[in-house]
C-alpha cells in the first residue's frame, strides 16, 4: 500500500512550442506508482504532445522531468524505453506485411546465429497473446488481415510484453469493441496492482470514471487541475475541458415528417451484407448500430457504390428509378454523400490545403469555368465553410495534416456541404475527436435534418446514437435485424439484438 503514493515521474514547467504556437504551456504534474492517471482535454489541448515528450518522441522547449527522483530527459524513444517508459500511440505502429508474431517480437526476434527460430517465435508470441486473452488471434496471420480493433490489441500487447515502470496509452479504445475494451481494463488493473504507473488518454468519459484514480485536465496547453476520480463527475469533466456549452438533445423538435422518402434501399447484398432493406425519410436521422465487424461500414460502402452490390437496388427521391451504383461518382451525382470512417485513409488529402479538400467534389460544377478554377469563388466558399463549422486554422492554404483531429473531420464533412447532397452517410463521424467538436457535429446533423436532408449515421457509441438519432437500425452479422424508434429503445434490447445474428452460428 505504501508504494501507491510513491512519486514515479515528476514533470515541472514542461513546455513545447512550435514557432509562435505553444502547444503545451508550463505543465506541472506528478504521476505515481500503481496509479491510473487519466489525461483529459479537447483535441489540440496538448495531451498527446505532453505524453510524447515523456516518451522521448518530442523534445520539450522548456521544463524538467524527474523519474524516480533522478533527472530524466530522454532524447529518443529508445532511451525512454530503457528507462522503463512505454507508449502506445493513437496511430498504429505495426508492419502490416509481417505476421502478428514477428510484429510482437520485432526488436528481439528469437534467433540462432541470425536465423529466426519459428517455433520459439510463435510460442513466445502465443504466450504474450494468451496472457491478454487474445486466444482468437493467430500468431501466423499477417497484421493486414486483422481488423482495426484486433490490430490495436496486438499493438497494446506489444507494449505490455516489455517490462515497464510507466505505461502511456493514447486513445487505446478508439477502435476497440466493448468486450475488447473490458479485457484491456482488467489487464490495466492488474498492472496497476504490480505497481506500474499508467497514463491514460481517452475521450470516453464513462470509461475514465470507471478506470482512473486521478484525472488531470488540460485546456489549450495549460494544466487546469488534477482531481481524484470520485470527486469529479463526467459533467464536471466536460465543463473543465470545454468551459461550458453543453449540447442539449433536440428530441422534441426532431420528429421528421414521415411522408417523403429520401432514400430507399431494397434487398441489397454484397460482401458480408445479406439482403438489407430500409427506408430513410427526409429530415430523418437514422442510426446504425452493431458490433465491430457486423458490416455497418460495408453496408454504407455498398449503398455509396464504393463496393459492388451483387443484388438489390437503391432508390433516391421516390420518383427515381432503381439504381445500383458501380462507382461513388454515380452515387454523388444522384445526391448521396459519404463521410468515411477513416479520414486519413480515404477521407482527406492530408498534404493538400483546406481549400482543395473542401471543394474537391464540386470543382467542375461550382468552381470552374471551361475547366479553369475560379479562385475567388473557391476561396469564398472554403472560407464560409471554415467559419460556419468553426474550423480553426491560420489560412486556407494550410495542409490539412497540420490540423487537429476534430478540425480535420470538419474539413472532411465540409466538402459534402459545399456539394449540397440530399442524403448524407456518416461513418463514425465523431471517432477520436473531442467533446467540443463532437457537439458541433451534432448541431450540424440537426441543421441538415431541419433542411430536409436524410441522414444515416454509423456509430459504435450507442449513447451517442440514442442522443442524436430518430431511429436506430441494428446490424448483426451482415443483416439488418431490427429498427428501434425513440419510444421503444432500451440499451439492453438493442445490445441483445446486436448479438442476435451471431447466436446460431459458430463461424463468427
Amino acid at each position: 500500500m505504501n508504494s501507491r503514493h510513491t512519486t514515479l515521474l515528476e514533470v515541472e514547467g514542461l513546455t513545447k512550442s512550435y514557432g509562435e504556437t505553444t502547444v503545451v504551456d508550463d505543465c506541472c504534474l506528478s504521476f505515481h506508482r500503481g496509479e491510473i492517471h487519466a489525461l483529459l482535454g479537447a483535441n489540440g489541448a496538448g495531451k498527446s504532445t505532453l505524453v510524447r515528450m515523456i516518451a522521448g518522441l518530442v523534445s520539450p522547449t522548456a521544463g524538467r522531468m524527474h523519474l524516480g527522483g533522478q533527472p530524466y530527459s530522454p532524447a529518443t524513444k529508445r532511451k525512454a524505453e530503457m528507462a522503463g517508459i512505454e507508449i502506445v500511440q493513437q496511430e498504429l505502429n505495426l508492419i502490416s506485411t509481417l505476421s502478428v508474431a514477428e510484429n510482437l517480437l520485432l526488436t528481439r526476434l528469437p534467433a540462432n546465429i541470425g536465423i529466426i527460430s519459428r517455433e520459439r517465435l510463435h510460442a513466445q508470441a502465443r504466450t504474450a497473446l494468451n496472457r491478454f486473452g487474445l486466444t482468437n488471434i493467430s500468431t501466423r496471420s499477417k497484421v493486414a488481415e486483422l481488423g482495426v480493433g484486433q490490430q490495436q490489441m496486438v499493438e497494446i500487447t506489444k507494449a505490455l510484453a516489455q517490462d515497464c515502470r510507466l505505461l502511456i496509452l493514447d486513445e487505446p479504445t478508439a477502435a476497440l469493441s466493448p468486450a475488447e475494451s473490458e479485457s484491456l481494463f482488467s489487464w490495466l488493473r492488474q498492472l496497476k496492482l504490480k505497481g506500474v504507473g499508467i497514463i491514460y488518454i481517452s475521450h470516453r468519459l464513462d470509461e475514465i470514471s470507471r478506470l482512473a484514480d486521478q484525472i488531470s485536465i488540460l485546456r489549450d496547453g495549460h494544466h487546469v487541475g488534477t482531481f481524484p476520480t470520485h470527486e469529479c463527475s463526467t459533467d464536471r469533466m466536460v465543463e473543465l475541458m470545454s468551459g461550458g456549452s453543453a449540447y442539449t438533445a433536440t428530441a422534441t423538435n426532431s420528429s421528421p415528417t414521415r411522408n417523403r422518402t429520401a432514400l430507399r434501399v431494397e434487398g441489397i447484398s454484397g460482401g458480408p451484407i445479406h439482403d438489407v432493406s430500409f427506408n430513410l425519410y427526409e429530415g430523418e436521422k437514422l442510426g446504425f448500430a452493431g458490433l465491430v465487424g457486423s458490416g455497418r461500414t460495408e453496408l454504407l460502402r455498398l449503398i455509396f457504390g464504393a463496393d459492388k452490390a451483387t443484388k438489390g437496388c437503391v432508390y433516391l427521391n421516390q420518383d427515381m428509378s432503381p439504381c445500383r451504383f458501380k462507382h461513388p461518382s454515380e452515387a454523388v451525382s444522384a445526391g448521396l454523400a459519404m463521410v468515411t470512417e477513416d479520414r486519413k485513409d480515404n477521407g482527406l488529402l492530408l498534404s493538400q490545403s483546406i481549400r482543395a479538400n473542401t471543394t474537391i467534389t464540386s470543382l467542375w460544377k461550382r468552381f470552374s469555368r471551361c475547366g479553369i478554377i475560379r479562385d475567388a469563388a473557391e476561396i469564398r466558399s472554403a472560407r464560409e465553410q471554415c467559419d460556419s463549422l468553426g474550423i480553426r486554422s491560420e489560412h486556407l492554404d494550410q495542409p490539412v495534416r497540420t490540423l487537429s483531429g476534430g478540425n480535420q473531420q470538419k474539413v472532411a464533412i465540409a466538402k459534402w456541404l459545399v456539394h449540397d447532397a440530399n442524403v448524407f452517410l456518416f461513418d463514425e463521424p465523431t471517432r477520436g475527436i473531442d467533446v467540443a467538436a463532437r457537439r458541433r457535429i451534432y448541431h450540424l446533423l440537426d441543421t441538415l435534418s431541419k433542411r430536409g436532408k436524410g441522414i444515416i449515421m454509423v456509430s459504435s457509441d450507442l449513447d451517442e446514437l440514442r442522443e442524436v438519432c430518430d431511429r436506430i437500425a441494428i446490424i448483426s452479422a451482415g443483416r439488418l435485424v431490427d429498427i428501434f424508434t425513440r419510444d421503444n429503445w432500451s440499451r439492453e434490447d438493442m445490445m441483445q439484438t446486436a448479438f442476435a445474428g451471431y447466436l446460431n452460428r459458430s463461424t463468427v
Binding site: Q352, S368, T402
Partner: protein, 322 residues
C-alpha cells in the same frame, strides 16, 4: 496572404535558381568561353527534347506513376516522321500530325493498360520501352533516315532572336503545362490522385480518365520531343534518346517533384532541365572527360535532391500544429 504567397514563391524557386546561378558562376570562373551568348544559344537549342519529356514526366510523377518508355516513344515518333518524309515523300506539315499521334497513342496504350488493369506503370512502361524501340527498328529497317533541310527549320535559330521554334514551343509547353497543373480542375485532380487516390474516388470522382489522359499527354510530348530532335539532327535515328527517361526523371526530381506522387511543379522541372544542360555544356567546355562528367552530374542530382529534402523537412516542421 500575399506575404505568404511571396514566401512560398521564394521557397519554391529560390533554392533551385540559386543552384543554377551557382553552377553558372563556377563555369564562368573556370572557363573564359563559358559566359558568352553562343554558349547559351547552343544550350537553348539543345534542350527542347528533354524539356518536352520532363514536362510530361512531371505530370506522370505527380499522379504517382512513372513513364520509362519516353525515350523509345520519342524514337518511334521520330522514325514515323522520318520514314514518311524520306520513303513516302510526305511534306513536313502532313507528317507532323502522324508523328504526334504516334506518341499519343503509345502513351494512351500505356495509360489504359496500367490504369484499366491496375498494373504498376513501372512495369507497363518498361514493356512499352521495349515494344516501341522494336517498332522503331521495324519502321526504319534499323537505318538512320536522313531527311535533310526539309525538317531543319524547326530546330534552327530564327533570325533576330536567335532561338529556334522548337525552343519557343518547349517554353510554351512549360507555361501551358504549369497553367494546366495549377489553375485547372484537371491539374488539381492530378495532384489529388497522386496524394490519395482512394480519397478522390470516395469524393465521387472517377480517377481513371485523368490518369490515362496524363499518360497520353506524356506520349504526345514525346512526339513533340521526337520532332524537335529529328529537326536538330536532320534525321531520324532508331537508336535516339536511349536513357533520356533517366535524365527527365532526374530533372523532375531536382525540381522537387515527389516520386511518391502528389507534389510537383512544371517550372521547377524546367529549371532542373536547365541545371542538367548547363552542367553538361560547361563540363564539356572545360574538357572534362566523359567518365568524370557522369560522376559529377550524378553527384549534382543527389545533392540537389538532398537540399530539397532538407527544405521540405524544415517546411513541415514549421507547419506542424499551427
Amino acid at each position: 496572404m500575399t506575404r505568404y504567397k511571396l514566401i512560398r514563391l521564394a521557397v519554391d524557386y529560390g533554392a533551385l535558381l540559386l543552384v543554377l546561378v551557382g553552377i553558372i558562376s563556377v563555369f564562368s570562373v573556370g572557363s573564359d568561353n563559358f559566359l558568352q551568348r553562343s554558349t547559351f544559344i547552343s544550350i537553348a537549342n539543345q534542350i527542347p527534347d528533354l524539356t518536352f519529356i520532363a514536362v510530361g514526366m512531371t505530370f506522370v510523377l505527380i499522379i504517382g506513376g512513372i513513364d520509362l518508355s519516353v525515350g523509345s516513344v520519342l524514337a518511334l515518333s521520330s522514325a514515323v516522321l522520318g520514314t514518311l518524309m524520306v520513303d513516302h515523300d510526305w511534306s513536313l506539315i502532313s507528317a507532323i500530325p502522324l508523328c504526334l499521334l504516334t506518341g499519343s497513342v503509345c502513351g494512351l496504350v500505356s495509360g489504359y493498360v496500367s490504369i484499366g488493369f491496375r498494373i504498376p506503370s513501372f512495369i507497363v512502361t518498361l514493356g512499352m520501352l521495349e515494344m516501341a524501340r522494336g517498332a522503331t527498328k521495324l519502321v526504319t529497317d534499323s537505318q538512320t533516315k536522313y531527311i535533310g533541310s526539309a525538317v531543319e527549320p524547326i530546330g534552327e535559330p530564327l533570325p533576330g532572336i536567335l532561338l529556334s521554334p522548337a525552343f519557343l514551343f518547349a517554353i510554351a509547353s512549360v507555361l501551358a503545362a504549369q497553367f494546366l497543373l495549377k489553375r485547372t480542375v484537371f491539374g488539381r485532380y492530378c495532384v489529388a490522385i497522386g496524394t490519395n487516390e482512394e480519397a478522390v474516388s470516395m469524393s465521387g470522382i472517377r480517377t481513371a480518365p485523368y490518369s490515362i489522359a496524363v499518360f497520353a499527354i506524356s506520349g504526345l510530348l514525346c512526339g513533340m520531343a521526337g520532332l524537335a530532335q529529328t529537326s536538330r539532327l536532320s534525321s531520324a535515328d532508331p537508336n535516339a534518346a536511349v536513357g533520356i527517361e533517366l535524365a527527365a526523371i532526374a530533372a523532375c526530381v531536382i525540381g522537387g517533384t515527389s516520386l511518391m506522387g502528389g507534389r510537383g511543379n512544371v517550372i521547377s522541372s524546367f529549371i532542373g532541365v536547365l541545371i542538367i544542360a548547363v552542367l553538361q555544356t560547361g563540363l564539356a567546355q572545360l574538357g572534362v572527360s566523359d567518365a568524370n562528367k557522369q560522376i559529377i552530374t550524378g553527384a549534382v542530382i543527389v545533392v540537389a535532391v538532398l537540399l530539397d529534402t532538407l527544405r521540405n523537412r524544415l517546411n513541415t516542421r514549421e507547419a506542424r500544429l499551427v
